[in-house]
């Protein structure tokens, strides 16, 4: 039985407080008028920001009108900054829990013999799905209520002047959007809670009926998950760029969440093992998790490159703007994440011996998680804050807040039941797993 160490509890609470202060600072310093926004940009970079507006457009007739719309755009971007920081971090940690849940369902549906020893760890991590999902949902509701400008298609004024958005209005409808989000979250949370209940019931039962039922609902959940996850990625992420579309986007987001989830499973397992809470977990289990981290990192890269290369190659204007803005304004994060999510884990985790060394896995895990945060950052920021991005106090504050909350919730959930399932039919195989 795991007891939440008080040091970790205090650390997570401190992270939440510091993070909340950072986020609060972001919201307080958010400009409320066009003048404030212009002053902020001028004080930050009077070098190139100023000369752009005055130099090139100075002699055109529509100068005044153009500048006004430009300034309002700038105001919206700056107002979006703390919201986008909040949204990216909220989604990132929610996505870890969801990726873990998908991995857990795969392990159950495939009747894997090595992983039952880690089921309680996965269940503990996916416990964050409930509060994390509710937070993301609340942010979406606030967006629909026009508290922010994250989703431009929610602005009726914009849609009125945009033929393309009018064409998509049937799907991108604020009420329908929230109903879909509620269905996705409801389905995921329902599976998580029910599977967890069956998993605990199996420990005390005399037959395998709970285990069998869990197998069936896991297989059914995977079908639901693949469809809902794909639609969720269109709704929550792709729709911040409502003029752009990509068919493999759902898998791309899936790869990101899957590898992050597996990485967190490995890190939590190594942490718990280092505290002697998982005596039966051996380095072969860690090796298997590290193999998944390695393999899914490459899978992510495959999808990232397939999406990028197909659009780069054909260079169709309506598709390619997505990457043009990213390469122009986000060069370092855009290509940096490929190094963090591919090159680094590829070289570090290729050696079979290294995959058994705990600190190697932890180190690779930290880089992979940071890389996938940057991945989500690259998906949301260009459409919401544009070239005004910066990883500053609100962004780091949001990461700290949700990281603290995630740690607090996950380790609290880990402490509620014994960490090793008792009557899982595969538990003996898992205990003697050796690769």
């Amino acid at each position: 039985m795991y007891t939440f160490s008080s040091r970790l509890k205090i650390a997570s609470i401190v992270m939440m407080i510091v993070g909340a202060l950072g986020l609060g600072y972001g919201f307080i310093t958010m400009p409320t008028s066009v003048e404030e926004a212009k002053a902020m940009v001028a004080s930050h970079d009077d070098g190139h920001g100023g000369s752009h507006g005055e130099g090139t457009h100075a002699n055109t007739d529509s100068h005044g009108e153009h500048d006004a719309s430009h300034d309002e755009h700038l105001l919206h971007q700056l107002q979006n900054k703390p919201w986008a920081a909040l949204y990216v971090a909220a989604f990132f940690f929610f996505m870890i829990a969801l990726g873990t849940l998908a991995f857990y369902a795969v392990q159950r549906a495939s009747q894997a013999g090595w992983s039952p020893l880690l089921f309680r760890v996965m269940e503990g991590i996916s416990a964050y799905l409930v509060p994390g999902g509710i937070i993301v949902f609340v942010i979406l509701v606030l967006s629909v209520m026009h508290m922010n400008h994250l989703f431009v298609w929610m602005d009726a004024d914009v849609v009125a002047h945009d033929k393309l958005l009018q064409g998509k209005a049937g799907y991108l409808d604020p009420v329908f959007f929230l109903i879909r989000a509620a269905i996705f979250l409801g389905g995921w949370i329902l599976y998580r809670e029910y599977s967890r209940k069956l998993s605990i019931k199996q420990d005390e039962s005399n037959d395998n009926s709970s285990f069998k039922l869990n197998f069936k609902i896991s297989a059914a959940f995977l079908v639901f998950y693949l469809i809902s996850e794909s639609m969720m990625s269109w709704d929550w992420i792709m729709s911040v760029d409502p003029h752009w579309f990509s068919t493999l986007f759902g898998w791309y987001v899936f790869a990101s969440m899957f590898v992050s989830g597996i990485t967190v499973i490995a890190m939590v397992t190594i942490y718990l093992k280092s505290k002697n809470y998982l005596p039966d977990v051996n380095d072969s289990h860690i090796h298997d998790l590290a193999k998944f981290m390695f393999g899914i990192s490459i899978f992510w890269t495959y999808l990232w490159f397939s999406q990028f290369m197909l659009i780069w190659y054909s260079n169709i204007p309506e598709e390619v703007t997505y990457f043009v803005t990213r390469i122009e304004d986000y060069k370092l994060p855009f290509f940096g994440m490929v190094v963090m999510n591919f090159v680094f884990p590829f070289l570090i985790l290729m050696n079979s011996d290294y995959k058994r060394i705990n600190w190697f896995v932890i180190m690779a895990g930290i880089v992979i998680l940071a890389g996938h945060y940057v991945d989500i950052f690259n998906m949301i920021m260009p459409a919401t804050v544009g070239d005004q991005w910066y990883i500053g106090i609100p962004e780091i504050g949001a990461i700290l807040f949700f990281a603290g909350f995630f740690i607090f919730w996950v380790f609290r959930a880990l402490g509620t039941v014994p960490l090793q399932p008792k009557r899982n039919p595969f538990i003996e195989e898992s205990r003697h797993f050796h690769y």
């Binding site: 490159f305 990028f308 290369m309 190659y313 290729m350 079979s352």
Partner: protein
């Protein structure tokens, strides 16, 4: 003087594994074990050094990647930088996404094929090679352990019978 070897026959891989451990404990050197199929853990029990073929494969992969880059950089960028459908042939990096599929495939091609050839060379396998198994049954359902004899035939024979050998024979050492 041709040295002699003793061949101990087993018909079960579990018995074989125990036999190997016992023989190693008795400090005899096992020349070879012939099996009809891979016996999990036999290499560890015999104390064989781990294979380094994965390391060679990694190096061959690096070579393949270098070949792909050098080839395409020369052909597409240096030698005749044509404008083909508006692709930017000014530098390698600018047109790199178009080259990645070939870079990937050549890396895999070199890593796979050169590793297989390395395996054939190191394990001395080629089409007209004379088969080396001491008994045809070792390809079907028998395991044979081969130990060199140094004036200790009787002692070895007893030890091997103790480990559950079903048959024991003496043969000239097959130098290959």
């Amino acid at each position: 003087m041709a040295s002699k070897v003793i061949h101990a026959y087993y018909n079960d891989d579990d018995v074989l594994m125990h036999a190997v451990k016992k023989i190693k404990e008795a400090k005899h050197h096992i020349e070879e074990v012939y099996c009809p199929f891979p016996v999990h853990g036999l290499d560890k029990a015999m104390g064989l050094a781990p294979t380094r073929i994965a390391i060679t494969s990694f190096m061959y992969g690096c070579l393949g990647l270098a070949v792909a880059i050098a080839m395409m950089d020369y052909i597409m960028i240096d030698d005749w930088p044509q404008d083909i459908g508006g692709k930017p042939s000014f530098s390698y990096i600018e047109n790199m996404p178009a080259f990645v599929p070939i870079m990937f495939e050549l890396t895999v091609f070199f890593a796979a094929h050169l590793m297989v050839i390395t395996f054939y060379l190191r394990s001395r396998l080629w089409p007209f090679k004379k088969a080396e198994n001491p008994d045809v049954r070792t390809t079907d359902d028998h395991f044979v352990m081969e130990i060199e004899i140094h004036d200790n035939e009787k002692e070895l024979r007893n030890l091997l019978l103790d480990t559950g050998a079903v048959e024991i024979s003496i043969a000239d050492k097959n130098d290959h």
